[in-house]
C-alpha cells in the first residue's frame, strides 16, 4: 500500500515537473507562427486588424514578433486608399505610432492632428491609445482647406459650397473635389490649404492641448537696454508707413493671379533694391494655373550668416471684387509696410545673424507663398531662429488697442520675447499673448508646420475690422499711430534676435557633444562644449544654459573661463539642454550671445533627418519605429 502511494506520488511529481518545464519554456516560435499563419490563411476576406486577436503574436520572441506583426498588418492594409482622419491629442497615448510611415500628419491644431492614414491602419491608432474620427474616405484628387467658421450660420453657408466637417470650435475642414476654395468661397472666409506632405512640427509636448491667454514677462538673464536697438526703434517713421500703405493701396487690387499683384511685387522688389539690400524673387505656382512671387530681401549676418531671423507679411489682398478692387490697406498693406520700414532701417545696420524681409504672395488663396517658402527653407536646411509675421496691424476697434501675439506651444518663447522687448522699447504698446496652435490663417502657420518658431502679430483675434476683405479696407479707416508702435516693437524684437554687432566680438565655433552615462536605474548626461578663441583680446568666456530654447539662459560659471572648453555634468537625460557663449573683455564688457547649440548637436550619430542631427527623442522614436517595422 505504502509502495503504491509512493508510485502514485512519483507519477504526480513527473506531471508537475513536466507542467513546470512547459511553463518555463513556452511553445517554440515556429509552432506559434504556424498557428498564426494557419489562422491568417483560413481567412480570405480582408478584415480589420482589430478583429484579429493580435494578442497571440505577443507571446513570440521579439524578432519573430516584428516579422509576424508586419506580415499581419500588411495583409490588412494592402488597400491603396488613403483616408483623412482627425486624431485627438491625448497625453497618455503612445506618440510613436504617429511617426509610422502609414501616418502622415498634415496639420496640427490645438486639440487634434489632421492626418493622412493608409486605409485600414487607423485601428492601430486606437491600440496606441488615440481617439480618432474619419473625415474623408479617400484623399485622391482633392484639395482640403481649413476654414475659419466663427458661427453655426457660417458653417451652414460653407456647406452650400462643398463638403464640410467641423474640426474644432471655430475651424472647419472644407473641400469641393479639386476646386480652389478661394475661387468658390465668399471673400470673408479665412482659409488655409492643408499641406500635401507631412509636417514636422508635432512633438511629444504637442499631445497636450496647451493654450494660454496670459502674458508673461520673460527677460533673457542678461537683459540690458541696447542703445543700437533703441536707435533702430526711434527711426521708425509714421509718415513712411503711411506712404507705403498708400502706394500699395494705389495698385487698386493685389489679388494674387492679377497682373496688378505682380506689379505690387515689383514695387516691393525695387524698394528693397533702393535700400541697398540683397533681394530676390521667390517664384511659385499655385491653383494649378497661376504663378506669383515672394519678395525676399536679405541683410546678411556678420558672425553667423546661417542663423536667420525672418520678418514677414503678405502683400496680396482680397475683396468681394478681387479682380478690380481690393485695396487691402489693413489686410495687409499695413504688415507689408512694416516689413519695408524694417528693411529701410536694417539696411544700414550690422547684425550677428542674418535678417530676411519677406513679402509673401497668394496668402489669401490659402497661404501658398509662405507654404512654398517654408517648405523650401526646410529642404535647404535653413536655420531660421524666429519668424515674425505681421498681418493686419492698423485697425483699432477701441482705444487703447492692444496687439495680439499668437504662438503655438513650441514658439511661446518667441511670444514672451516679443512681450519683454516690447515693454522695454515700446512701453506704450499693450500686448496680448495667445498660445493657440489653431490660429492658422496667416503666413506664420506654414513655418509652424515645418518646425520653425513663428509668431503672428495682429490687431485682433477674432478679427474686428468690419472692412475685412471688402472694397472699403482703405487707409482712411486705419490708426497709423497704433501701426507705428507695432512696427517699433516688431523691429525691436527682430533686432534683439539678430543682435546688432558689438564689442567684444561675439564668440564663434561653439559646438556641443553629449554622452549618456547609465546605471541600472539612473542615467545622467554630460555635455562637452568647445569653441574658438576670440580674435579680439578677451579675458575669458561665460557659458549660459537653458532648457527652453532661446530663453531663460542661466550662467554656469562664476568667473570667466580662460580655456575654450567646458564640461557640463550630471544633466537630466530626458531634458534637452541648450547653450550659448559670450566673451568678456578686460573692461568687463560682455559680448552678444553666440549661436545657440543643443547639447547633442555635435554627436556623430548615424541617424539623420533631412540633414540635421536629430535630438535624442527623435532617435528613440526612429528606434521605436524600427521595432515596429524592421525594414525602415
Amino acid at each position: 500500500m505504502k509502495h503504491k502511494r509512493h508510485k502514485l506520488f512519483m507519477l504526480l511529481s513527473i506531471l508537475v515537473f513536466l507542467f513546470f518545464i512547459h511553463g518555463l519554456f513556452p511553445c517554440s516560435d515556429e509552432t506559434e507562427l504556424t498557428k498564426i499563419y494557419k489562422k491568417s490563411d483560413s481567412k480570405t476576406e480582408i478584415r480589420s486588424p482589430i478583429k484579429r486577436p493580435l494578442v497571440s503574436v505577443e507571446t513570440l520572441s521579439p524578432r519573430r514578433e516584428l516579422f509576424s506583426k508586419s506580415k499581419i498588418k500588411n495583409r490588412f492594409t494592402r488597400s491603396d486608399r488613403t483616408e483623412l482622419i482627425k486624431i485627438y491629442k491625448q497625453r497618455d497615448a503612445s506618440i510613436d505610432i504617429l511617426y509610422s510611415p502609414e501616418v502622415k500628419i498634415v496639420q496640427e491644431l490645438r486639440t487634434c492632428f489632421i492626418a493622412h492614414v493608409k486605409s485600414g491602419f487607423s485601428s492601430n491608432l486606437s491600440q496606441a491609445g488615440f481617439e480618432f474620427e474619419h473625415l474623408d474616405d479617400d484623399i485622391k484628387d482633392k484639395k482640403y482647406y481649413l476654414v475659419y467658421c466663427p458661427s453655426s450660420k457660417e458653417l451652414e453657408t460653407l456647406k452650400y459650397y462643398g463638403e464640410v466637417k467641423l474640426i474644432e470650435e471655430n475651424s472647419a475642414l472644407f473641400w469641393s473635389d479639386n476646386k480652389e476654395a478661394r475661387e468658390i468661397l465668399p471673400a470673408r472666409f479665412q482659409i488655409k490649404r492643408l499641406p500635401g506632405d507631412a509636417i514636422r512640427s508635432f512633438k511629444e509636448r504637442s499631445l497636450v492641448s496647451a493654450e494660454s491667454f496670459h502674458p508673461t514677462i520673460t527677460f533673457p538673464s542678461r537683459f540690458v537696454i541696447n542703445p543700437v536697438i533703441s536707435g533702430i526703434v526711434n527711426q521708425v517713421s509714421k509718415q513712411n508707413l503711411t506712404d507705403y500703405i498708400q502706394s500699395l493701396q494705389d495698385f487698386q487690387t493685389r489679388y494674387a493671379s492679377t497682373s496688378s499683384c505682380e506689379l505690387a511685387g515689383d514695387y516691393i522688389y525695387d524698394f528693397f533694391i533702393q535700400q541697398g539690400i540683397d533681394v530676390e524673387y521667390d517664384s511659385f505656382s499655385f491653383a494649378s494655373s497661376y504663378s506669383s512671387n515672394n519678395i525676399v530681401g536679405t541683410v546678411e549676418g556678420q558672425v553667423y550668416p546661417s542663423q536667420i531671423v525672418v520678418i514677414c507679411a503678405h502683400y496680396d489682398s482680397d475683396s468681394d471684387q478681387p479682380q478690380t478692387l481690393a485695396p487691402g490697406a489693413d489686410d495687409n498693406a499695413s504688415g507689408t509696410a512694416a516689413v519695408m520700414e524694417a528693411a529701410r532701417i536694417f539696411a544700414n545696420q550690422s547684425f550677428d545673424f542674418t535678417v530676411k524681409f519677406i513679402c509673401f504672395s497668394a496668402e489669401e488663396w490659402g497661404l501658398y507663398g509662405s507654404e512654398h517658402y517654408a517648405l523650401e527653407a526646410r529642404q535647404r536646411g535653413e536655420d531660421i531662429i524666429a519668424v515674425i509675421n505681421l498681418d493686419m496691424i492698423a485697425y483699432t476697434d477701441s482705444i487703447p488697442e492692444d496687439l495680439d501675439i499668437i504662438s503655438n506651444p513650441a514658439s511661446e518663447w518667441l511670444a514672451d520675447r516679443f512681450f519683454s522687448t516690447s515693454i522695454t522699447y515700446t512701453p506704450l504698446l499693450n500686448i496680448f499673448k495667445m498660445v493657440n496652435a489653431s490660429v492658422t490663417y496667416s503666413d506664420h502657420s506654414p513655418f509652424w508646420d515645418r518646425g520653425y518658431s513663428a509668431i503672428l502679430g495682429i490687431e485682433d483675434i477674432p478679427l474686428s475690422n468690419p472692412h475685412y476683405h471688402t472694397t472699403n479696407d482703405t487707409i482712411d479707416t486705419l490708426n497709423l499711430d497704433f501701426t507705428t508702435e507695432v512696427v517699433k516693437a516688431s523691429l525691436a524684437i527682430a533686432a534683439d534676435l539678430a543682435q546688432p554687432i558689438s564689442t567684444p566680438q561675439t564668440p564663434t565655433g561653439l559646438t556641443s557633444r553629449s554622452q549618456i552615462i547609465s546605471s541600472l536605474f539612473s542615467s545622467i548626461k554630460t555635455a562637452f562644449l568647445n569653441w574658438d578663441s576670440n580674435q579680439d583680446p578677451v579675458i575669458g568666456y561665460n557659458i549660459y544654459r537653458t532648457t527652453t530654447s532661446h530663453s531663460d539662459y542661466q550662467k554656469l560659471n562664476s568667473s570667466p573661463l580662460v580655456q575654450t572648453y567646458y564640461m557640463d555634468q550630471n544633466l537630466d537625460t530626458e531634458t534637452p539642454h541648450y547653450y550659448v557663449l559670450t566673451a568678456v573683455d578686460s573692461l568687463g564688457n560682455e559680448s552678444n550671445f553666440s549661436k545657440e547649440v543643443a547639447d547633442d548637436e555635435g554627436n556623430e550619430n548615424t541617424f539623420t533627418i533631412e540633414g540635421r542631427v536629430p535630438s535624442r527623442y527623435v532617435v528613440r522614436t526612429i528606434l521605436a519605429i524600427r521595432k515596429i517595422n524592421p525594414w525602415i
Binding site: 518555463l24 549618456i516 547609465s518 546605471s519 541600472l520 536605474f521 539612473s522 554627436n603 550619430n605
Partner: protein
C-alpha cells in the same frame, strides 16, 4: 543576450532533471519525520552565487555575485512546508556609457538587495537525502547608489521564484543544504541602458540546516 538566456535555461533544466532522476531512481521513503519533531521548524544559513538574467545587470556588476541567505521552514504536513527567510545581495560595479562616447567617464556603483521569500515546498525523504521543490513570491527591497555623485535609486517590488534542491542529513538535526533558485523580479523601471530591468536570475547556494 539570447544565447546567455538559453544557456541559463539549459543549466537550470539540467539541474532540475538531475534532481528528479535522484527522486525517481534512488529514492526510498525515509523515516526522518516518522518520529515527531519538537518543533516542525528548521533554520538554515547558506551562501552562494547569483547569476543575473538581465544583460544590463551583468554589464554593470558582473556575472556571478556572492550572496548570503537565511531561511526558515515550517512543516505544515508530512511533505509540505512553508519556506521563508531573508536573502542579501550586495555588489559593486561601474557605470556604462550608452550611445556615443567622447570621453572616458565612470562612476562607482553599489547595489544592494534584500529579499523576503515566501514559498510552498514539497519535499520527500530518501534515507538521508531530502530533495525538495517549491515556488512562491518574494518581496524585494533594492537600492542602487552612485558613489561619486548624489544619485541613488530605491524601490520595492514583488517577484516570483521557483526553488529546487536537496538536503543531506549528517545527523538527526543537522543537514547540508544545496539548492538552486530561479527568480523573476520585474521592476518596470530602468534607465537609458535598459528600459525595463528584471532583477531576477539563477542562484546556487550551499548551506547548513538545523531542525528543532
Amino acid at each position: 543576450m539570447n544565447k546567455m538566456k538559453i544557456m541559463t535555461r539549459n543549466i537550470s533544466l539540467r539541474i532540475s532533471v538531475c534532481i528528479f532522476l535522484v527522486l525517481l531512481f534512488f529514492g526510498r521513503p525515509s523515516n526522518l519525520f516518522s518520529e515527531p519533531l519538537k518543533l516542525p521548524v528548521s533554520i538554515s544559513f547558506s551562501f552562494g552565487y547569483f547569476q543575473p538574467k538581465e544583460k544590463a545587470f551583468k554589464d554593470l556588476y558582473g556575472n556571478n555575485k556572492f550572496q548570503l541567505s537565511f531561511s526558515l521552514r515550517y512543516v505544515l504536513m508530512k511533505n509540505v512546508s512553508i519556506y521563508s527567510g531573508l536573502r542579501y545581495l550586495a555588489c559593486n560595479g561601474e557605470t556604462k556609457i550608452v550611445g556615443p562616447e567622447f570621453q572616458e567617464e565612470k562612476y562607482d556603483l553599489k547595489f544592494t538587495m534584500y529579499s523576503i521569500p515566501l514559498a510552498l515546498i514539497y519535499s520527500h525523504s530518501f534515507k538521508n537525502i531530502n530533495p525538495f521543490l517549491g515556488g512562491g513570491i518574494s518581496y524585494n527591497i533594492y537600492r542602487e547608489k552612485w558613489d561619486q555623485l548624489a544619485i541613488s535609486f530605491e524601490d520595492k517590488n514583488l517577484g516570483l521564484f521557483l526553488i529546487a534542491g536537496a538536503e543531506y542529513f549528517i545527523s538527526k538535526r543537522f543537514s547540508l543544504l544545496g539548492r538552486a533558485q530561479f527568480s523573476s523580479i520585474p521592476t518596470k523601471q530602468g534607465s537609458e541602458l535598459d528600459e525595463n530591468v528584471n532583477l531576477g536570475g539563477t542562484e546556487y547556494s550551499l548551506g547548513l540546516s538545523f531542525y528543532f
